[in-house]
């Protein structure tokens, strides 16, 4: 199998997480924000799998399956919320949702 050190593998997962985080902070389109959250979930699960492969244990993969279940739930509810947001406000821009903001 591969002889790459586990630090480099975790560094790769961290880079993937960082891209997702930057996307979540920069983009204002809610669909892209949800996609960035997906990327971050994926990177976090990858760290579990890397650690499990490093120690030769199955627990990392089991945790990834749990993360998969959480992700599926989050995506379905999030997409339903996006649909409702589009019905009410006719926009996908997260900054447009300022109904509760006070007028200065």
């Amino acid at each position: 199998m591969i002889t790459i050190s586990v630090e480099i593998q975790i560094l790769f997962a961290a880079l993937l997480f960082l891209i997702g985080l930057i996307g979540l902070l920069v983009r204002r389109n809610v669909i892209f924000m949800l996609m960035s959250v997906e990327i971050m979930f994926n990177a976090a699960g990858m760290v579990f799998v890397i650690a499990g492969a490093h120690w030769g244990q199955v627990d990392g993969q089991v945790m990834f399956i749990f993360i998969l279940a959480v992700t599926a739930t989050e995506v379905s509810v999030g997409l339903a919320l996006i649909l409702q947001m589009f019905h009410h406000f006719r926009t996908l821009d997260a900054d447009e949702l300022n109904t509760l903001k006070e007028d200065n």
Partner: protein, 185 residues
Amino acid sequence: MNTIFYIAAAVALISTGIAVSGRNAIHALLSLIVSLLSVSIIFFILGAPFIAALEVIIYAGAVMVLFIFVIMMLNVGMEKEMENRWLNPRMWIIPSVLSLILLIDFIYMLRAMTHPEAAGRIISPKQVGVSLFTTYVLGVEISGVLLLAGIVGAYHLGKQRKKVIHRFLKKETAETDESENIKNS
């Protein structure tokens, strides 16, 4: 094998960057699917074939189809000149090239895996399943409850209250609503 890992990692980083920074949602989703496929190859290299299969089936299959459904329903930003955009090779050439690289990577990896010494510490699906349903059976129950809550929540939030947003149906339904109101009054 190390080269395969580095190639797949580079493809994953590039396609994720494209997915996050894209303008069009569908094109970003295509790049995200390529990213998930390369992550799946990395899982395969790491000795987790079951997780690699789950990554393709659930992430790149189910979750991304859900995204595509919602984007198609909302129909944002792609109302004009769709065919011109689709026929423009600039839009699909990058994901295609990245997928081609991944395919070559994958074929090379499968040929390399046939050597007996290459099959090192592979954790088989059987081990994962046994651990999942003995040690972590409580977690399985809890995630089942979570999925049930997700179904109920998505159904409740997704219910439409007499408001049709599709642009073709919008005018007709508005008129029928008005006529119904007149009838009722």
